[in-house]
Symmetry: D2
Subunit: 334 residues, 4 copies
């Protein structure tokens, strides 16, 4: 059994708590949140203790591993605490919104061999992962294009927008990572980004985007299109297409049932796709945790490293530079 401390008991922390409790080899022992009401609810629901402080929660000798699902600005502090305590840590994305802080953290943890896994859950989605595996197996031959469609069902509120660090760092960061995941050893070298404000007032107030498109180019010449939106009335649109010398594979959207309906106005209709990430990626979140536990038990390297988290942020920053200067920006992951 791996005993977990959970830091952060908001919407996503709650979900992680439930997943930890449901895992046959995991156990939730401590919960910490600045909001004590949140902490006590999640602790009660999962028979866990409420920790007094993050450091207590982490250093508790009963604790084997840490899951960070707190507000983004706290991630680095908790990551360093966990690493200092040599406790394997699964940290929600993004590591931080500020690349300088990320670099500083990188220096601090440089010597440690503590397991750090960043929460890019989409890598663990069965469909996306099968597609990546099929490419690795040669099923589509040489990779030429990746096309990622990633649209949220509806825009978040202003508080969220003000804290989230901007569309590219909060949302597209998943797609940047997914692109890197599929590319494998082939690094991204260029990016062209278009941010747009088409429909949401709060997004305007927050000086953010509600619509975006990107082209990225890898060293080997693979061209990647990412297209994002903060609103899709038909649900959480999550598609990945890979195209190569031997064919194409598409990881398509999913609906809760396999029902198709035929009426006088339309035929072969499915119901709306999953509404948002907690439903759509439920299994991926579980498999992400499972991978983390397997890595702890087998003492193996992280499948989604600190560097993966940092590189996705570098891409997001380059995207802003591209958008602001209306030019193609070269990427330097150094």
């Amino acid at each position: 059994m791996i005993n977990f401390t959970l830091l952060g008991a908001g919407r996503i922390g709650k979900m992680h708590a439930k997943i930890i409790s449901g895992h046959p080899e995991a156990n939730l022992v401590n919960v910490y949140d600045v909001n004590t009401e949140f902490a006590s609810q999640v602790a009660n629901d999962n028979d866990a203790n409420i920790a007094k402080s993050p450091i207590d929660a982490i250093n508790d000798e009963n604790v084997d591993a840490v899951l960070i699902a707190s507000a983004t600005p706290t991630h680095i502090e908790y990551l360093v605490m966990s690493t200092d305590a040599n406790k394997p840590v699964l940290c929600e994305k993004p590591i931080d919104l500020d690349i300088d802080k990320v670099n500083e953290c990188r220096n601090k943890i440089a010597g440690s061999s503590n397991l750090i896994q960043i929460g890019f859950n989409r890598r663990f989605d069965k469909s996306h992962a099968s597609l990546q595996q099929a490419y690795v197996n040669g099923e589509i031959g040489d990779l030429e294009k990746i096309i990622i469609t990633s649209r949220d069902p509806s825009p978040p509120d202003l508080d969220y927008l003000n804290a989230a660090g901007g569309f590219f760092r909060d949302t597209t960061i998943h797609d940047f990572d997914l692109s890197r995941f599929i590319l494998g050893d082939d690094p991204i070298i260029e990016i062209s980004a278009f941010g747009d404000n088409l429909f949401d007032e709060n997004v305007k107030i927050a000086n953010d985007f509600d619509t975006a498109m990107f082209i990225l180019k890898s060293k080997a010449g693979v061209l990647i299109n990412i297209n994002n939106s903060r609103r899709a009335v038909y649900g959480y649109d999550q598609r990945v297409e890979i195209f190569g010398s031997k064919g194409m594979m598409i990881s398509g959207n999913q609906t809760p049932t396999s029902i198709r309906k035929y009426t006088d106005s339309h035929t072969s209709s499915k119901e709306p796709i999953y509404n948002f990430f907690i439903e759509r990626y439920e299994q991926a979140y579980k498999d992400q945790l499972n991978e983390f536990i397997l890595s702890i038990k087998s003492n193996s390297k992280s499948k989604v490293t600190f560097e993966d988290g940092r590189n996705a942020l570098i891409l997001a920053n380059a995207a802003y530079e591209s958008h602001n200067n209306k030019k193609v920006v070269s990427i330097d992951f150094k």
Copy 2:
């Protein structure tokens, strides 16, 4: 150029006239219909002559071939006339509603080598025909099941119902033929039929069915399900499934465009399928005529014989017997 006489200028005759005119190697020269208005309209639209009588229309020395699209009770008379004149004839289904008359006709034409093709258009549908060909090519291995769904968009009026000879002889006859087409040399030996009257008042008045299901069994043991309805609000539902030792193939429905729509109430929706046979089987009707012309030119045997027409009627009659006596009826094609 093959010069045609068309007998019958109603809805389906009109369609055949247009198809003949559009064929690069066919020419419509004569049109006959008891309704002279119908005849003159079709003749005008296609630069053809109005014939005074069926016999004149057929015996005209400019005429190479005959297409019979008149009312069912006239089919046999015109078939015999054409055969007597030794003019290749394409005759709409059914040959007749009365098996005794069909047998009498069979005797009359027994000695002739005149080309007779029965208008089972579905055999020429690209999708259904590809499926049959795939089976012949061994792609699904040994055939074990055929499942035919065949539903009209809406019930005909009372006049049509009173003349049509009943649901099994008018509509299911296509599906009986399609089953025989797929089975090839393997004859149907048994049938169980359920007729039903669920929704249409005119159908009740005509003492007919609006809903039906059948199981047929072939000598080799292939089980066939046919299910029919006189109403499908989503359009003319035409599906064929074949199932065997190596897999399954389905010839599915078709929509006018390849558009799919995603809204807040349903996703991946196609528009309604083709409304009825003239739209759905437009190309099949063209390819049926083309096959007839090829057979004339190459002096080859008919692809859809008089026997095919007779055997489909025998199945329809057996279906009525099965329904009436609530038992499985053995088939005798002798």
Copy 3:
């Protein structure tokens, strides 16, 4: 927490044990199997005790409910034991293969109000259940047809065949029940059945069928087609179509991922569908148990009653009679 006794620790018992253990409100306390090795393995895997006898397993005062997953001939004995002990019982299908024994059991339990739920898992499949619910909600108008395709991936071995009671009682029984589930208050009144032996030698030896088709008719005139096979090379084919005055709904097959592949030989290909019932109906088995637990906790009536189990067997028996006598058989559920 509901404490369970599990009777039967074979393939399906093992699955039930895991589902009970995984349910947040259920606990496996006792396991019994005539095969003590099976019993001890399942007990170990789930931290449960090995019971010495069925009666001990059931009467244990720590036990709140019973799950019967043993060999079919033991079902009735354990059902009666559980009812005598007034312990809610979830019993795998079929109740028994012999209708006389089922009737005898029915008399014995007649006065009891103990909760009995029969394991017709397909009623709990999200897709099939949504389709039934949509019909109840009026989404397809008046029901006119049900078409159930149910094909196993590959035939069982001879031992299984010899014990299973025949294709109609072992396999089609699910489809008979699913038909009844969809029909609701409208009873089935007639059946026509075709059994067939097309490909499997063991099935021949066991004097059983490997292929079958059925037409059933309800009192309201709904026509139902069921088609079964013991082999489908593309996986466990489970489809349900309902057709009515306002449209059609199809509960289609499901694949493990949402990937589609495009190559030079075929396009838009999905991977093979789920191989068999444990994968395909995993969630349905979970939801079946959950329903059972909800019924216990809320003291409400069974969602799948003893009568449902008995009626499905009556249909299976009528199907054999129809096949043997080549006639339509009237159903009497009295």
Copy 4:
């Protein structure tokens, strides 16, 4: 009857000849090609005369209209000749590869009211056109994104490549036009282009691209992704997606039949999509001609104007500038 002169009798001229001959209101009277063998073959096949020169072919008093399907460098000359003769002209894309020549031509024809239609056939594809119409009808609300996938089945030979004017001007030009067609009054204002050379040696020799991606932005903020390739092993990939405030519509690929296949290695597979433009857009080419004929007969304005042809070229030129300078290029259609 509209009598046509056809200029150019190569692959695409041949196709146009056949379409003219098959149109009930059109007639092919003259054919001209520098290659007299090509000319005589097409003339023979369609009962037309071989013209001695383009000017003779056009000025022939029997001729009502001109179709230009000759090599690109001759388009402008023939366009001007036709306009001087006041004969309606349907001209294959592109008008020319050199914007200066196009502008010069524009000046020459400035005063004329002669009907000029540019051969952007995809505007007449039933699926693409329905999608555009649905947007106009408000079915997807406010437009936010267009995503066009357009991939040829296999690269052309070196001769073609050397004459074609480059990937963006020869191929993407269709997608630029299709984008403009969907946008309607909303002009494109910016473009970012990535050309790539990933697999084809001839393309390298011709100093051209085999792979490309583009982002375009309209004045209203609509973001457009175009992705092109010179090779798709599964056929001629032609998809258009529009996304807006009320939903999404996708005009998907099409296969010759509606067959789906299920085997032990893959399920629900369609056969490969149409191989190339002559098959995929057969009906669109017919409907394009029909529109041209309707415009002649009704004396109405062109549906695809000279300006449409010029604007698409301006976009292609801007795309090269963007690619070469690695920046977003502003568009000026003046």
